[in-house]
């Protein structure tokens, strides 16, 4: 006698009891609250550390992440000491509006392998933004920190919020100074009092380059501006 046996690939789940549903709901709510709290936990020493806030909207992802990773480690302080203790707490807002240049929204891929054969998961930056708007920025910072024992504690000092709202005390937050992105920094051509240039001709050229006036362009031999 033939019997038709149906194998289902997914084992049927047990029906959710009311108790399980309540437990799941409580866990979800607690997770959401923990995400939205302003308490930094399990971090070596927060005494004397600043709480700095930075607005990510319009900033280029990697350049901002690099700056933030540096600040998280405490490397922008002359009192830096290796270890997870010297960095400030950084609060990032508007992380969903962080900018990616070029076609990276579709072309930048994040790869993972699940361990199973054929299990290479490839997701674009746009996918990750949809799944969790803060993930892209946090991953960028995580990958810029040294892979050592302190990496996890350092990442706990970073709080990323997708929008403008954050849960920290506004009065205690210090705005983080970001250097304006200048492609070519003009050298400081002022001489201190009583000092002369080492090489007057070279100095004249440098001053002319910085001033970019018509007379200066003539001394440099550049074409006159149309």
């Amino acid at each position: 006698r033939l019997r038709l046996v149906v194998h289902s690939r997914v084992t049927p789940r047990a029906p959710r009891t009311p108790h399980t549903a309540r437990v799941v709901l409580v866990v979800l709510v607690v997770c959401a609250l923990a995400e939205m709290s302003n308490v930094i936990k399990n971090v070596p020493n927060l005494a004397g550390m600043r709480y700095r806030i930075v607005d990510a909207s319009g900033e280029v992802l990697g350049r901002l992440a690099s700056r933030v990773a540096r600040a998280l480690q405490g490397k922008d302080k002359p009192t830096y000491a290796p270890g997870a203790g010297s960095g400030d707490v950084i609060v990032v807002v508007n992380a969903a509006d962080v900018a990616l240049t070029g076609k990276k929204m579709t072309d930048k891929k994040y790869y993972r392998h699940t361990g199973y054969v054929g299990g290479l998961v490839e997701r674009s930056a746009r996918d990750m933004f949809e799944r969790d708007p803060t993930w892209v920025f946090r991953k960028a910072v995580e990958r810029m920190l040294p892979r050592n024992v302190h990496a996890r504690e350092t990442m706990r000092k970073l709080r990323v919020f997708p929008g403008r709202e954050h849960t920290f005390d506004e009065t205690k937050l210090v705005r983080m100074q970001l250097e304006p992105r200048v492609l070519v920094k003009a050298p400081d051509t002022r001489a201190p009092e009583g000092m002369m240039a080492f090489n007057p001709e070279a100095h004249a050229r440098r001053v002319a380059l910085v001033e970019k006036s018509e007379a200066a362009r003539k001394t440099l031999g550049h074409r006159p501006r149309a």
């Binding site: 490397k75 922008d76 302080k77 002359p78 830096y80 400081d188 002022r190 201190p192 000092m195 440098r206």
Partner: protein, 109 residues
């Protein structure tokens, strides 16, 4: 003091049998001596790295990078070493700023 006593004295604080059993302690203590030899030389490098990181942070507060700063100091024949510069950056900020200003102005010349 016997040789064995000396080895156990050096093995204080080690984990597990390495502090109590001579055969294992001897191996670990000899290894620790090798590490000490190597690290006496590494210590000098590690401190210099730390001073450089601190000087970098301090000069960037004034808008100058470490490499520009050191280059400027060299050009002006300022022979203050990195250990003292790092100390100045933390404890004598005005003196440090004077050095950074000097470099900032002279680099453009």
């Amino acid at each position: 003091m016997t040789v064995r006593e000396k080895i156990f004295a050096a093995a204080k604080g080690m984990r597990g049998r390495a502090k109590n059993c001579i055969k294992i302690a001897r191996n670990r203590v000899e290894k620790s001596w090798q590490y000490q030899y190597r690290d006496r030389r590494n210590k000098k490098r590690d401190w210099r790295r730390l001073w450089i990181t601190r000087i970098n942070a301090a000069t960037r507060e004034h808008g100058v990078k470490y490499n520009e700063f050191i280059n400027g100091l060299g050009r002006e024949n300022v022979c203050v070493d990195r250990k003292i510069l790092a100390e100045l950056a933390v404890n004598e900020p005005h003196s440090f700023k004077a050095l950074v200003d000097r470099v900032k102005h002279m680099r453009g010349l």
